[in-house]
């Protein structure tokens, strides 16, 4: 169901990594880490989708596969109706202008030997989009102003070591914005930042979304952050979507036992709120050699007869709210 309002359509996307086992491994059957194992969802134009889950649930691999930074095992990703896995290098290079990635750690992303001017303008130079040095300069300045680094001319001459973490992350955002993208995939963009600065960057991101009509895919382990930025929430567990739906719907009435546990465990910054926590047995297993049943079965408290037999598929339980569980 790809309509004009869908900017990105992810269809049964899989990314399996082959496990290196040893010298004579060719004799044995190969085993795989099924980091992303059959994920489908649509991203509406102008929407803000948060993908959340614990470490190792495949959220980062999903982002990297969507951008085709790694080749998928199977499945398709349609960007404005075109399958990005069938694109040639030239088409892909054009696509990369439209889909930008923001990483978690701005300290590692930005080359310390370049000035902010070079760092922010780099994308334009690489894609040969700067007609003259003046145009380049003006566009860098306006990108810096967009991310509220004012006076922009002053910031443009600095090096990354002269800036704070929050400012660096804003420069990383400016680097993306200067290419006028449609879609920004942000992988834990504020997790490295301190609380007071984190809010500033999150507010900036929500404001920019409205100003520039951007679409966001926001990847995080923190549901409180996800709720602050996103309007649609996808909960992943071991490479698959456990539940997805409108943000407030999922946060307030989670249907999947995993989501219920996850939401009940998010700490709340208020000592007077008392809640019941749902504790899960054990820790998240690794997605290697998973049995052909519900992958949450081992930790689930609501196991029924079906759960042991077949992997549950996503079903719509209320408008646009999907759950992969038999209990519902």
């Amino acid at each position: 169901m790809t309509t004009n309002d869908t900017i990105l359509n992810v269809q049964d996307l899989k990314k399996w990594f082959t496990l290196r086992t040893g010298l004579f491994s060719f004799r044995r059957e190969k085993s795989y880490v099924k980091a992303v194992d059959g994920v489908s969802f649509d991203v509406p134009r102008g929407g803000s989708i948060a993908i959340a889950g614990e470490s190792g649930c495949g959220k980062t691999t999903l982002a990297r596969t969507i951008l085709r930074l790694v080749e998928p095992t199977s499945g398709s990703v349609l960007y404005n109706g075109e399958n990005i896995f069938e694109m040639n290098r030239l088409e892909l290079s054009d696509l990369r202008l439209k889909m930008q990635l923001i990483f978690q750690n701005p300290f590692e992303v930005l080359d310390p030997r370049h000035t902010v001017m070079d760092l922010v303008g780099e994308g334009l130079v690489i894609h040969n989009l700067h007609e003259s040095d003046e145009v380049l300069h003006d566009r860098v300045i306006s990108a810096l102003e967009d991310v509220r680094l004012i006076p922009a001319a002053d910031f443009a001459t600095r090096y990354s070591h002269e800036l704070s973490g929050g400012q660096l992350q804003r420069i990383a955002i400016a680097r993306s914005l200067i290419l006028k993208p449609d879609l920004i995939i942000a992988d834990e963009p504020v997790s490295m930042l301190d609380a007071s600065i984190r809010t500033e960057v999150m507010n900036l991101m929500t404001d920019l979304q409205k100003e520039k009509e951007l679409t966001y895919i926001f990847i995080t382990h923190d549901l409180a952050q996800a709720r602050y930025i996103g309007d649609y929430l996808i909960i992943m567990y071991l490479g698959r979507i456990a539940e997805m739906g409108p943000m407030e719907d999922v946060i307030h009435t989670p249907r999947h036992p995993y989501t219920k546990a996850l939401v009940s465990n998010i700490p709340i910054p208020d000592p007077t709120v008392e809640r019941e926590r749902i504790m899960l047995e054990g820790e998240t297993p690794t997605p290697v050699d998973l049995p052909p049943c519900c992958r949450f079965k081992a930790r689930c408290q609501e196991i029924g007869a079906y759960c042991k037999e077949e992997e549950p598929q996503l079903r719509e339980v209320s408008p646009d709210h999907w759950v992969a569980c038999y209990c519902e």
């Binding site: 301190d194 500033e200 507010n203 709340i268 007077t272």
Partner: protein
């Protein structure tokens, strides 16, 4: 009597002849069975406070003034040898990255036995038995003490570290960001465990974290630090609901929540000051929306405003910070 009494502690680092005032005037007490959550942003001095108490500062760090009394003993005056005897037996510390706290080439049980035998007169067999009991206590299978660190998951390692911290029966445990690297569900299990052990062994806990949500759910008392100063301390409900210091108020307001209505959060403009080049007067004044001229010139006193609730602000108790009074 309080287990730990820290009074006007100041710890400076010396960098190329210059003084960096990492901790400057920190005063708090912790009683047994109580947890004090020490929170603040990176570089505010919370870890340096912990390291000062344990006296495990880097070589260029010195306790410049103040007193640290643990069970009535003044730690700043102990000799290095006496201090060595105090660590683990009276006070132990749990670090953030459990992965790095264990030696990767030695069995985990072995490493805990080593601590016990170093500190207590105990035979090898007795020590191994003690480790089994400890493992059971923290929810690990005793037979897993022969495993190496890489065979444990993050949560299990954190449990093993807690077992090690308890090994010599201390009065005080300092937990420096003990759960920050863990997923939320595991995080809460570890925190529940810590609370259970605290009640059982009458421990005083100094809990250091940058995450106020975790503090709100797990600590009896809260201390907020900013640029080396302790700006506010009191019981959790008072600090969260009736903050006295504008910084605590703003910091608490910057945390998103999964309950309640979704609202736009506030942030604090600017960044914390450079500790080598501190502003005059109140260290928060350049970022404070309530700053008056006195804030620029005079360093505010750390005063008790309401019973057990202290703040370091000229206008503490007079500002309308939107509390629920």
């Amino acid at each position: 009597m309080a287990v730990l009494e820290v009074k006007d502690l100041a710890t400076y680092y010396y960098l190329g002849g210059k003084e960096l005032k990492a901790v400057d005037g920190v005063t708090f007490n912790i009683e047994s069975k109580r947890t004090l959550g020490l929170a603040g942003e990176s570089g505010c001095g919370k870890t340096t406070t912990a390291y000062s108490i344990m006296r495990i500062l880097a070589e260029n760090g010195k306790i410049a003034r103040g007193s640290i009394r643990l069970g009535g003993v003044e730690l700043t005056e102990l000799s290095d040898e006496e201090m060595r005897q105090t660590r683990w037996k009276k006070a132990s510390i749990v670090f953030q990255y459990a992965m790095n706290a264990f030696n990767p080439v030695l069995r985990i049980g072995r490493q805990i036995v080593e601590v016990i035998r170093e500190k207590d007169e105990m035979s090898e067999e007795e020590a191994v038995l003690t480790v089994s009991t400890l493992f059971d206590e923290v929810g690990l299978k005793p037979e897993r003490q022969v495993d190496y660190p890489h065979e444990f998951s993050g949560g299990m390692l954190q449990r093993a570290i807690i077992a090690q911290a308890l090994a010599c029966d201390p009065q005080l445990i300092i937990a420096d960001e003990p759960v920050t690297a863990l997923d939320v569900i595991v995080q809460n299990k570890i925190l529940d465990l810590l609370r259970k052990l605290q009640d059982k062994y009458n421990l005083a806990v100094l809990f250091i974290t940058h995450d106020l949500s975790v503090v709100a759910e797990n600590c009896h008392d809260v201390g907020i630090m900013y640029a080396g100063n302790l700006v506010e301390v009191g019981d959790a409900t008072s600090v969260f609901k009736n903050s006295l210091h504008p910084y605590s108020n703003k910091l608490i307001g910057a945390f998103p929540s999964v309950v309640g209505p979704k609202k736009r959060l506030e942030f604090i403009p600017g960044a914390p000051p450079n500790l080598m080049n501190l502003p005059t007067g109140c260290r928060f004044h350049p970022r404070c929306p309530f700053a008056q001229s006195i804030c620029k010139d005079v360093v505010p006193e750390f005063e008790e405003i309401t019973s057990g609730h202290y703040a370091k602000c000229h206008f503490a108790g007079e500002l309308d910070l939107g509390g629920e009074q």
